[in-house]
Amino acid sequence: MSEEKIKQELEDKFSYLKDAVIIKRKGRISAQVTLDKFNEVFVYAVKQMHFLALSAITGLDKGDGVFEVIYHLNREGKVLLNLSVALDKNNPEVKTVTQYCPSADIYERELMDLLGIKVNGLASGHRYPLTDDWPKGEYPLRKDWKGNSGKTPGLKGEAGVPFPGKEAQNA
């Protein structure tokens, strides 16, 4: 299926996608969706249009209080559909897509850890990639996060004895 046909099918099925689907080049299509309409477009792309593989999920901080989450859907390795959805920075929340794409699990955990986006419906499990004792509320990939300002867990000396080379490290 060529890129033009894919674009046509999306625009025909979802009228609100008119002018929101762009063909960047051969094998790359981008589409912008709003959060409320995201689920139906995603499910349609995965189930009816055979974009069966989810290659990655990218989360980014656009600045000006907007987050964006891009789902890179892959059709037989040949065409990539980048479905992006905008979120409000003050309350970033998405629903999990693991029921359609089980491999989304680890990408969504990355969103939670590094950007603080809440993913609803995710099964319980280890966080990734940060440590368990990473301080709450510190999301490294946000634009306004400029370093740990001494709050990240340092190396504590066991039983109160500072480890050699780290005598100044706060306990």
């Binding site: 290659s55 892959n74 490294p140 004895v161």
Partner: protein, 409 residues
């Protein structure tokens, strides 16, 4: 599924079978694995955030060091993404150079894997043989790029070094030697009964599971999924070169071995084609420091599978967002599936069969001895304090020793 009565064993992050830190929690009933889970993140270094504070060329050097084994993959993928955003047309000779180094890297990575796989199943001779052969490729790469690992040959707009006719002859000679030796390994894989018995039926990932869990690279190609970014989404010079996508249907570690051996033979043929067909011309296109605003997704077939880079620029000389999805992150989720109902002894080779590269995976940044197989769960801290007390009773105190050693060195 884990049931009560099953023993939980943590494996990693330091373990003789694992070359990199990652931690697996395995539930065992006797010798059979009933459930497993992976904990990653030990290699998370904060690269994606660091990229936002560096210029594109500085980023290139950082991205190259995501992984030492597939360093060229990451740097080419990133350079391609930036060139797509900026609309820079890379000259044909540069594309061929990139492809040449890419195939040499694939050769070195697959030979490395063969050795590591041999080591994991206890066949150390294979490790020594393949790594001795690998030195041929390393010498070649050092001659062409200046370094054995982390070649630094890419730059935004092309490559930094050219190849002359003497080097071309050396490449062809080396490929002849390697092809000879690879044929020996293929005979070994097809004919040696102990190897076949050890690898066949192990780490099975069915065709449907591989599709559902989005496996990539040789792991997927061994389960019958014929997907290769070099054919599906050609980049660099692959559109003009002739090669086959190797895939088998055996779905197990033996299949992955055969796929990688087949890919080695294809790489030799590709290198010969490149040396024959490389066009004359410049190796670098001019590019400005500031990249115009835009975004691009670039895909690359690394030796381990599909590598995906997403780059967004904002018109300055530093990128706005760089996202790297390494192939091992896509494959690691199928490891739990592969380990189901297998024996503990198969664990190292199953994990090694996806050719894990956790430094590619975590890159952003429970020493448990596998021998601690007691039925009671004792917290490590208790064991450790017990050990310290045991020594203290015998007059040895670690704290003062540590201080003395620091003064010594």
């Amino acid at each position: 599924m884990h049931e009560s009565g099953d023993v939980r064993i943590p494996i990693g992050p330091q373990h003789p079978a694992l070359k990199e830190p990652e931690s697996f929690l395995i539930s065992l009933r006797g010798e059979k694995i009933t459930a497993s889970s992976v904990r990653l993140g030990y290699n998370h270094r904060g690269i994606e955030k660091a990229c936002e504070e560096r210029t594109y060329t500085q980023c290139l050097y950082l991205i190259e060091r995501i992984c030492g084994i597939c360093s060229h993959s990451h740097s080419t993928c990133f350079a391609q993404a930036v060139e797509e955003v900026a609309g820079i047309e890379v000259p044909a000779r540069a594309k061929y150079m990139r492809t040449l180094i890419a195939e040499l890297e694939r050769i070195h990575s697959h030979l490395l894997w063969l050795g590591v796989a041999g080591h994991e199943i206890g066949f150390d001779t294979l490790l020594m043989y393949t790594w001795r052969d690998r030195e041929v490729v390393m010498d070649l790469l050092a001659k062409l790029t200046g370094n054995r690992v982390n070649y630094g040959i890419n730059t935004i707009g092309g490559v930094r070094r050219d190849i002359n006719s003497k080097q071309k002859e050396e490449v062809l000679k080396a490929i002849d030697i390697l092809e000879d030796r690879t044929k020996y390994y293929i005979d070994l894989a097809k004919g040696e009964t102990t190897l076949i018995k050890r690898l066949q039926g192990v780490g099975v990932l069915s065709h449907e599971d591989a599709k559902k869990l989005d496996a990539v690279g040789p792991t997927a190609r061994a389960s019958g999924i014929e997907r290769d970014v070099r054919k599906d989404d050609p980049y660099a010079a692959y559109a003009e070169l002739d090669f086959k996508v190797i895939s088998v249907n055996s779905c197990d570690v033996y299949g992955r071995t055969l796929v990688r051996l087949g890919e080695l033979m294809e790489s030799f043929s590709l290198v010969r084609q490149i040396i024959r067909k490389i066009p004359d011309g410049p190796i670098l296109a001019k590019s400005s420091r500031k990249i115009p605003a835009g975004e691009a997704v670039s895909r690359y077939e690394a030796p381990r599978g599909e590598d995906l880079h997403y780059v967004r620029s904002n018109g300055t000389e530093k990128p706005d967002r760089v996202k790297v999805r390494a192939p091992t992150l896509a494959n690691i989720q199928s490891v739990s599936k592969m380990l189901e109902d297998r024996y503990l002894a198969d664990m190292p080779i199953v994990i090694a069969a996806i050719d894990p590269c956790f430094s590619c995976t975590d890159r952003l940044i429970a020493i448990h001895d596998a021998k601690d197989r007691g039925k009671n769960t004792v917290v490590w801290e208790t064991i450790r304090l017990k050990g310290i007390e045991w020594y203290k009773d015998r007059g040895i105190d670690f704290t003062s020793l540590n201080k003395k050693l620091t003064k010594l060195f």
